[in-house]
Symmetry: C2
Subunit: 202 residues, 2 copies
């Protein structure tokens, strides 16, 4: 298994470099469990979802606390057949076979309820893609059902689902969406946008 | 067929609203051929790829000419089984059956060569996802081969391919990647990031 994300943080301020540099300190507690590489367009994080999503939560929450309008954009992936196995990606999420959809939905809802909350409100928009399956929409519809029951659902949009809530609950919801839908060994990706402090009316 | 994108423009300046508002004027020539709806996290563009990609090119090129570090992020989709057919999406790209891969690659390379160039340099990173196919990686590898011959290829990264070039050639390359790989009636998506004026070294 290989899993991780290409992520970018966009603070809408002339001091975007300062906000990015100071916020990336939030990744320090995760540096032993993630491989991190940055270039001029994104930062690669390689590691299991149970490390990746809390790391993204802390990075984005820290940036948003500046009060600046910030966006986190991420291409998150697991099980791509073109990527090598990597021991750092070993995850508790993908052991064993795939339980029935209803069981996975109930597990996901319970996990979101248990997630620690934060005091930072944000909106998220994402698309879940399940590759290599003829019936890929069943898993996607199953995920949307879970999202509607998660407490973070805001609306369905063309190509995406919009969520909102505190960043603790929100990133826990995203982790469950990514891990519980699509086969454990499958090629599953998320195209994610999270936004805070936008001046636009919701 | 239903096709389009959820897009967002991120100018890294305190005057991000001003840059966004003035750049969106670049979409005016396309407003009869695209359905456009904006909320607080993204703008929906519904229409065929031959309109969508030039529209994105002009929007991003206009924003980048301000000199501000700008990023365009887009979730681009065609053929999602969950979306309704829409007459505005009718495209010249998806008529008839699917020619062999080599023929499609040659067509794509020729189309990129014919594309008008611009004077704005940018880098792009994207992932192509082909759903509903057991052999989805064949199409993805075929697309990467095309990209390597397109003149815009910079490098393969985990989860994504990085391109660079003038925005004319770049968005023509992206349009070909989106239209020529995966079945004409298939569910194909792109997770796209385009960046200009970054202070980070390449």
């Amino acid at each position: 298994m290989f899993s991780g994300a290409q992520i970018s943080l966009y603070p809408m301020t002339g001091d975007f470099v300062g906000v990015i540099m100071s916020s990336f300190g939030a990744l320090d507690p995760y540096r032993e469990s993630l491989r991190i590489e940055t270039d001029d367009i994104s930062t690669l994080l390689v590691g299991p979802p149970e490390v990746l999503f809390p790391a993204l939560r802390d990075l984005f929450t820290t940036a948003s606390r500046t009060g600046v309008h910030c966006v986190l954009s991420a291409a998150i992936s697991r099980g791509c057949p073109g990527e090598p196995d990597d021991a750092i990606c070993q995850s508790k999420h993908f052991a064993g076979s795939m339980p029935p959809l209803a069981e996975r939905q109930a597990f996901a809802i319970a996990a979101v309820k248990e997630a620690p909350e934060t005091d930072v409100f944000s909106v998220a928009q994402f698309s879940l893609y399940v590759m290599g399956e003829h019936r890929h929409m069943d898993e996607i519809y199953g995920c949307v059902e879970f999202l509607k029951a998660s407490g973070t659902f805001e609306k369905s949009k063309h190509f995406a689902t919009k969520l909102s809530g505190n960043t603790g609950t929100l990133f826990a919801t995203l982790e469950q969406a990514f891990c519980r839908f699509g086969p454990p060994e499958g090629h599953v990706t998320i195209d994610l946008t999270v936004s805070a402090n936008s001046p636009s009316p919701r």
